[in-house]
């Protein structure tokens, strides 16, 4: 009898509750851990760290941001993992040739936090660490000394930002438009060449003269704008600041090239917060610089969102139509069952296979075909016959369509038979019943499928690498030039950006924090896209909520 209670405890299944609870707890722990690591590493990156001035045993001085401290492995010796070394971000790549330096703690004789030690973010060579000593305007000295130059710096940086914006407006906006016109005229000329080969007898003199006139006009305009641009650049580039590095070397920087500069050890909390917010905003809203290791990721965010939208626009009609046929029209039998199994299995095909298919079918076959028929004048330069956002979206649509089909089929099957009968008994045709009763009632379930598809599509990278993602896209796929949506353009993508910055970057150490921050943005975007769809679904559910029977 003594055994009986413990036996019944087993039978009641209490260990099962513990087992299942532990499994769930483990999952939650892993998710929280993952998100925690990403958030801590990503969000701390923008915080302005103090700069340390280290004096070493050999009397050399090093100024830098401490980024890491680790035990030194020395297997077989008594000091194995006992001593530590610091990783210092010393910047000044143009002077030192390296960004980061490991320093043995035992080598350090003195640590200081000097005043007027500036961290300068600039256009090239990574950050500059040093003290401002001289401000010049057109080769004439304006002020000298760290205090005076430091006071003048914020205004100079603001002016530099305004100048850069003006230059970019001319370069991308006005000159961009002229280039676009010249390029169009050039393509028309090539089209005329192409037509002449087809039909040598045709008179093209008038058309050619018109194009030449247009090109000449555009080029005159171009020269004018270019002169204006050079004027602005020259004016903006006149002033410069000279910085002195910790070891006494001097570097003169055009103010136009300075993006941000702050005295790292003299910042109050408010100023630190301002630097943090400014960096975060720059990261979100700016174009990347320095082969993606600096600047922002806006083009990647834009590309990701636009690709997901285009994919959704393709995948929802395709998936819903396929599900409608399977569920509503097809005679249920072996064939339909086979198709259903095949569709389900399609969801398990590795995504790189879809990428290869997308490249072979969409890019080379369909895109190449479109080029031969509609853009023969531009060949051999491909228009659609190369990777682009349309082909990437189509490939991802193909990848995610099984998810939508399965979810839609389930949603359609869940629409009560009584509701269909009510509609049919009113004299509605099957088509009207589907359109007016079945589809609206199945809407929330179909949206669930879309949510799953978007979550998968936004995170996919492998197929995109073959079908249109690039490391750096000069133009967004949406702009002010007709036809506004440039579906043939290559684009940037957050997932690929993570891979590129993390593993393909020339300066991996500097780019590491970018991996975390980019990951945060990717996660935030996936969550936002999903939340939007969930809100829409709940609204629909509210509207079509079934009664209490």
């Amino acid at each position: 009898m003594a055994e009986a209670p413990s036996l019944s405890k087993w039978k009641r299944g209490e260990p099962m509750i513990w087992l299942t609870g532990s499994a769930l707890g483990l999952c939650i722990l892993m998710i929280v851990g993952l998100i925690g690591v990403i958030l801590v590493n990503g969000l701390s990156f923008f915080w302005p760290q103090p700069l340390q001035l280290l004096t070493l045993k050999d009397q050399s001085v090093v100024l830098g941001e401490v980024v890491n401290r680790e035990a030194i492995p020395n297997p077989g010796h008594p000091d194995h993992l006992k001593r530590h070394r610091l990783q210092l971000r010393v910047g000044n790549r143009d002077l030192y040739g390296i960004d980061f330096r490991w320093i043995d703690e035992s080598e350090i004789v003195k640590r200081e936090a000097p005043h007027a030690a500036y961290l300068v973010e600039r256009r090239e060579y990574g950050p500059l660490l040093g003290t401002p000593v001289l401000l010049k305007d057109a080769e004439r000295e304006v002020v000298r000394g760290p205090e005076a130059v430091g006071e003048a710096l914020p205004a100079l940086i603001r002016k530099a930002a305004a100048d850069r914006a003006a230059i970019q407006k001319i370069e991308k906006g006005e000159i961009g438009e002229i280039n676009y016109r010249i390029e169009r005229a050039r393509l028309r000329t090539r089209k005329l060449d192409f037509e002449r080969r087809q039909d040598p007898s045709r008179d093209q003199a008038a058309a050619r003269a018109k194009i030449e006139k247009e090109i000449a006009e555009a080029q005159a305009l171009y020269a004018e704008k270019q002169a204006a641009l050079e004027g602005i650049v020259a004016a903006a580039a006149r002033s410069s600041v000279t910085f002195r590095s910790a070891d006494g070397r001097e570097k003169e920087l055009r103010t136009l090239d300075i993006y941000r500069a702050y005295p790292a050890n003299d910042l109050a909390w408010g100023a630190r917060l301002a630097v943090y917010a400014g960096r975060l905003w720059e990261f979100f809203a700016d174009d990347p610089r320095e082969s993606n290791t600096e600047g922002g990721i806006f083009p990647a965010i834009f590309g990701t969102v636009m690709m997901v939208f285009v994919m959704s626009l393709i995948v929802v009609p395709l998936g819903v139509l396929a599900a409608l046929y399977l569920r509503e029209y097809a005679k249920q039998g072996t064939l339909v069952r086979t198709v259903r199994i095949a569709v389900n299995n399609l969801a398990g095909v590795p995504s790189i296979v879809f990428g290869v298919f997308g490249l072979g079918f969409f890019v080379y076959f369909v895109g190449g075909g479109i080029d031969r028929i509609f853009f023969p004048e531009a060949l051999p330069t491909p228009t659609f016959g190369t990777g682009g956002i349309l082909w990437a979206s189509l490939t991802l649509a193909l990848l995610t369509v099984p998810v939508v089909i399965v979810a839609s089929e389930e949603a359609l099957a869940a629409v009560p038979r009584s509701m269909r009968e009510a509609s049919l008994a009113m004299g509605a045709t099957k088509f009207q019943t589907i359109l007016r009763v079945v589809l609206p009632a199945a809407g929330p379930g179909i949206l669930t499928g879309l949510i799953l598809a978007m979550a998968r599509g936004a995170g996919e990278v492998a197929p995109l690498m073959l079908t249109g993602v690039v490391k750096l896209a000069p133009e967004l796929p949406l702009d002010g030039f007709f036809p506004f949506f440039h579906l043939d353009r290559k684009f940037m993508h957050l997932g690929f950006h993570i891979y590129d910055v993390g593993f393909q970057s020339p300066n991996v150490e500097a780019a590491k924090p970018m991996v975390y921050t980019t990951t945060i943005f990717l996660l935030v975007i996936v969550v936002l896209l999903n939340l939007t769809a969930i809100v829409v679904r709940n609204k629909l559910r509210e509207r079509y909520k079934t009664g209490a029977f």
Binding site: P416, S418, M419, L424, A425, M426, G427, A428, T546
Partner: protein
């Protein structure tokens, strides 16, 4: 004549009902009854469900179909608007005419049949739309989108289904937010919005409480001023209360068909007597 009567049909019941009967008696000699069923047979696969059913249902009368479960009464009801077409592997033969329209003829459009024969189901099944859209559904699918026409039809149908007073201030709300009895009346309003000639009711009260049931029964009284009604019911008292004629089915055969008064007081068949006195079924 039918149009004229429809137009004149008042809301309150019994007095006019006798007048209508008198007029109909005169008309019955010259025209065929509303629903004519001749030798209808039906098979679900190899299962022969209806055997040679023949009966007539008269204009603006309530005909109740009674019988134990599985006797084929619902199947017969669904023959009248060809709802059985929706089931795979069904075979029907025999003649069925509604106001002269041959239901089962090859040339007859099933959509047309269902517009002329409205149906109310056992489980109320409003669409997940607003009350207004539920009522005008039939008009919308017929391609009528004129706001005034729809408004008029909505009000008329809801009044006809004795629901107007309860819902007139919340026509935009979901039809699924109503009570069980209101939902069933909403379904009736939806069915009569397209002005059918015949109204089929498949156990319309079986899921309702007694008070809601009473309301539906009163409604049936009013509706038969305008429509020919066929009702399937398991509730013998209900059949006795609302119907003019009653048909008793047993194992797919029509056993007895007579006026309700005769059926319940002096049934001719032994089976009928056993069933209505509760000895089996």
């Amino acid at each position: 004549m039918s149009q004229e009567l429809k137009a004149a049909a008042p809301d309150t019941g019994l007095r006019i009902r006798t007048e209508v009967k008198a007029q109909d008696a005169a008309a019955a000699e010259v025209r065929e009854p509303d629903i004519v069923i001749r030798d209808i047979n039906l098979c679900y696969g190899s299962n022969h469900v209806l055997h040679d059913i023949s009966m007539d249902m008269e204009d603006r009368r309530v005909t109740a179909l009674i019988g134990p479960s599985g006797c084929g009464k619902s199947t017969l009801l669904r023959c009248i608007n060809r709802m059985n077409d929706l089931i795979d592997d069904v075979k029907t033969w025999g003649t069925l005419r509604v106001k002269g329209l041959d239901i089962n003829a090859r040339t007859t459009d099933v959509i047309e049949v269902r517009r002329r024969v409205g149906m109310v189901f056992q489980k109320s099944n409003p669409f997940p739309k607003s009350i207004y859209e539920n009522v005008v559904y039939g008009l919308r699918i017929a391609g009528i989108n004129d706001k005034a026409t729809l408004d008029e039809a909505c009000e008329r149908s809801l009044k006809g289904a004795a629901l107007w007073e309860e819902v007139k201030d919340r026509l935009g709300e979901s039809g699924l937010g109503l009570s069980g009895g209101q939902m069933q009346r909403l379904c009736i309003a939806r069915a009569i919005a397209v002005e059918p000639e015949v109204l089929l009711m498949d156990e319309p009260c079986s899921a309702l409480d007694p008070i809601a049931t009473l309301k539906i029964e009163e409604l049936i009284y009013q509706l038969k001023e305008k429509y020919t009604i066929v009702i399937v019911t398991h509730n013998l008292q209900q059949a006795a209360r609302v119907s003019d004629r009653t048909a008793f089915f047993w194992l797919g055969r029509l056993v007895e068909y007579a006026t309700t008064a005769d059926m319940f007081t002096k049934p001719k068949d032994k089976l009928t007597e056993d069933y209505i006195t509760g000895r089996f079924g």
